[in-house]
């Protein structure tokens, strides 16, 4: 496979001030993307993931029920996990069974497959500061081996301040529908992820340090632009991709 094609994408940020500071359109959370039965107990992480994933499938005009999916997040269901850990150390702490099964990293992936009636493989990955880069690599490898199309969802809710002071915000999500190879009508084509340190614009550097999932920003910015030059794009401090627009 020479490249993978971006068929549709979307980004979501619940903080209005942060949204307004971005140079491209980013949506607020849309709770309507979660079926009513699942909505009431849905975590912020799940709302972020569903909002971006639904909008990306809409923009690509693809049915979510057919797409294998990869859910990537640095900290996953960290608010639910924090709540459980707080209870676990109290002598009389109560552990809710639903909070427990909703604390796994693949909570959003699992509910997505249930909500969309999607029986395709669903994965959940994490790679710290390289989470976005490894998510693109995983998408690349799946498409190169199996062909077809897939959905990649990257998201992080705010982390509890006690865990990593001054990090873990602002909450953000983005999602992409990719196809194997160069597909007519695609937005951009992305080459094989490679080692290398493409420049991260200074505007983003401090934000990416605070919230590693924001490493997606340069690629999102390019996908939103009309820039037609082939270029190397930052996906982490040690990984990059070549992006072209035909």
């Amino acid at each position: 496979m020479e490249s993978m094609s971006l068929l549709g994408f979307a980004a979501c940020a619940p903080d209005a001030e942060f949204r307004a500071s971005l140079p491209f359109a980013v949506f607020d959370i849309n709770r309507e993307t979660i079926p009513p039965l699942l909505r009431r107990r849905s975590s912020r992480a799940m709302q972020l993931a569903f909002s971006a994933a639904t909008a990306a499938c809409d923009s690509a005009q693809r049915s979510p029920s057919m797409l294998p999916c990869i859910f990537a997040s640095v900290a996953g269901e960290i608010q639910t996990t924090d709540l459980l850990c707080t209870e676990l150390v109290k002598p009389d702490g109560a552990i809710s069974p639903s909070a427990f099964h909703n604390s796994v990293q693949n909570t959003a992936a699992g509910y997505w497959s249930i909500a969309q009636q999607c029986t395709q493989p669903a994965s959940a990955l994490a790679a710290g500061a390289d989470t976005f880069a490894m998510a693109l690599l995983e998408a690349w490898c799946q498409l190169a081996c199996q062909g077809g199309e897939l959905l990649l969802v990257c998201y992080d809710e705010n982390w509890p301040a006690i865990l990593d002071p001054n990090r873990g915000e602002p909450a953000f999500s983005c999602a992409f529908v990719f196809a194997a190879g160069a597909v007519a009508g695609s937005i951009i084509q992305i080459g094989r992820p490679q080692s290398g340190a493409a420049t991260l614009p200074a505007d983003w550097a401090a934000l990416v340090d605070k919230m590693p999932i924001l490493a997606a920003m340069p690629l999102l910015e390019l996908a939103n632009s009309a820039d037609s030059r082939a270029q190397l794009v930052f996906i982490s401090s040690t990984w990059q991709v070549e992006v072209r627009r035909r």
């Binding site: 496979m1 640095v74 900290a75 996953g76 996990t81 459980l84 850990c85 707080t86 676990l88 150390v89 109290k90 552990i95 809710s96 069974p97 639903s98 427990f100 099964h101 909703n102 604390s103 796994v104 990293q105 693949n106 909570t107 992936a109 699992g110 509910y111 497959s113 249930i114 969309q116 009636q117 999607c118 029986t119 395709q120 493989p121 669903a122 994965s123 959940a124 990955l125 994490a126 790679a127 710290g128 500061a129 390289d130 989470t131 490894m134 690599l137 995983e138 690349w140 490898c141 799946q142 190169a144 081996c145 199996q146 982390w159 006690i162 865990l163 990593d164 990090r167 094989r192 080692s195």
Partner: protein, 400 residues
């Protein structure tokens, strides 16, 4: 009729494991043959209910000073595996052969270093602040122990964690196969690591799934599951004449139930799809499978779902067994731990038993092996791992 595989196989050139079954694969093999449960009362921390667990009770090694920020029980379990029977030397040889930047690292874990996070939260409750030495991204997040292993070994390839609950490390094997198939890597170290912690013990207890005594997979009188811990490391390499004598990972089939967050599809539809996907990727037929290492947690819903999946896919099911009555359910590590159990079956010629099985559940209509069978040498083995979220993976292995 076999057809050509959709994905090239990879060689499993080295593997090692630390679990309740012992500190290395020799001890694990001896435990599998003895088939006496290794489940015992928990010593690591106090629990407000009775159960037995698969605990690693031997001394765990210290993390070196320069990597102290990564110190947690998960990292120590993984480090212990490196020290067994020349495993680290085998990795160093692979690094010399392929180059450190050509070797990837994929970790499967469910709860990462959360046992140590729980200890930090206890200090928070007591002191009002988290301990200064607590590093969230180097202990608790899912990739923490992957990063530790990468730095400990000096690997420089892609490094990430798959965290899909109890299918995590089975899926990590699939990731590794794809990294090699796409020539992103020449070799990948796959790790499945999960330690005992309060979260999973009390969590599964809140779901009323914990058995007070040693669990009995596929038994009519089963009472639930037991939690275990373990670390299993496997080195996968692209096939070459040099490793032609090593067993092969043929495929990892994957699917989603799309049914329920914590309960499997009652008819095992997703489980059957994952097994069928593995067979299709490898271009093999179900009648070629000699043995199935079942997920068989000993929860009624899981066992019956998996039994229906096997019967639906296999007109004549091969012998099947599950080892969680021996080792406990090692959660995110289970896929890798039980792949190693299956590799031992392939390489040493036996079928593992189902420790705890006394009276087979009449609803499980296929041959479940109770005592280890030393008279059969399987050549093609499926090993199942199913997790929360209806996340299914089935690992297909072949003898050299």
């Amino acid at each position: 009729m076999s057809s050509s595989p959709l994905l090239p196989p990879v060689a499993v050139t080295a593997y090692q494991c630390v679990s309740a079954g012992g500190d290395d694969v020799e001890a694990l093999y001896a435990s599998l043959i003895a088939n006496q449960s290794c489940l015992k009362p928990l010593t690591l921390f106090d629990m407000p209910f009775a159960t037995v667990v698969g605990e690693v009770t031997s001394v765990l090694p210290e993390i070196r000073a320069s990597l102290k920020a990564y110190d947690c029980r998960n990292a120590r379990l993984a480090l212990k595996v490196l020290a067994q029977a020349g495993f680290r030397d085998q990795l160093l040889q692979a690094m010399a052969k392929h180059g450190a930047n050509r070797i990837g690292l994929v970790l499967g874990t469910s709860t990462s270093g959360i046992y140590d996070s729980e200890n930090a939260y206890a200090r928070l409750l007591q002191d009002g602040v988290m301990p200064a030495e607590f590093h969230f991204q180097k202990v608790q997040t899912a990739q923490a122990t992957a990063e530790f292993l990468q730095l400990e070994l000096g690997l420089q390839g892609p490094c990430y964690a798959i965290s899909t609950a109890c299918s995590s490390s089975a899926k990590a094997l699939g990731v590794a196969q794809r990294l090699i198939a796409t020539a992103m890597c020449d070799a990948v170290l796959v790790a499945g690591v999960d330690s005992l912690c309060r979260l999973t013990l009390r969590g599964f207890n809140s779901l009323q799934l914990i058995s007070p005594s040693a669990c009995r997979p596929m038994d009519a009188n089963r009472q639930g599951i037991n939690i275990g811990e373990g670390a299993a490391l496997l080195l996968l390499e692209k096939p070459s004449p040099e490793n032609a004598g090593r067993p092969r990972l043929l495929a990892v089939g994957e699917s989603s139930d799309a049914h329920h967050m914590s309960a499997p599809h009652p008819d095992g539809v997703g489980a059957a799809t994952a097994m069928a996907h593995a067979m299709r990727l490898a271009g093999r037929n179900v009648d070629e499978v000699d043995y199935i290492n079942l997920h068989a947690t000993a929860s009624s819903l899981n066992d019956l779902s998996e039994a229906r999946a096997v019967v639906s896919l296999f007109p004549n099911p091969p012998p099947c067994s599950g080892v969680k009555g021996l080792l406990g359910h090692t959660l995110g590590a289970a896929g890798a731990v039980e792949t190693i159990v299956s590799l031992l079956a392939l390489e040493r010629g036996f079928l593992p038993g189902t420790c705890g099985l006394q009276q087979p559940d009449p609803q499980c209509q296929f041959p479940v092996v109770a005592a280890p069978n030393l008279g059969l040498s399987p050549r093609l083995i499926l090993s199942n791992a199913f997790g929360f979220g209806g996340n299914n993976a089935s690992v297909l292995l072949e003898a050299a």
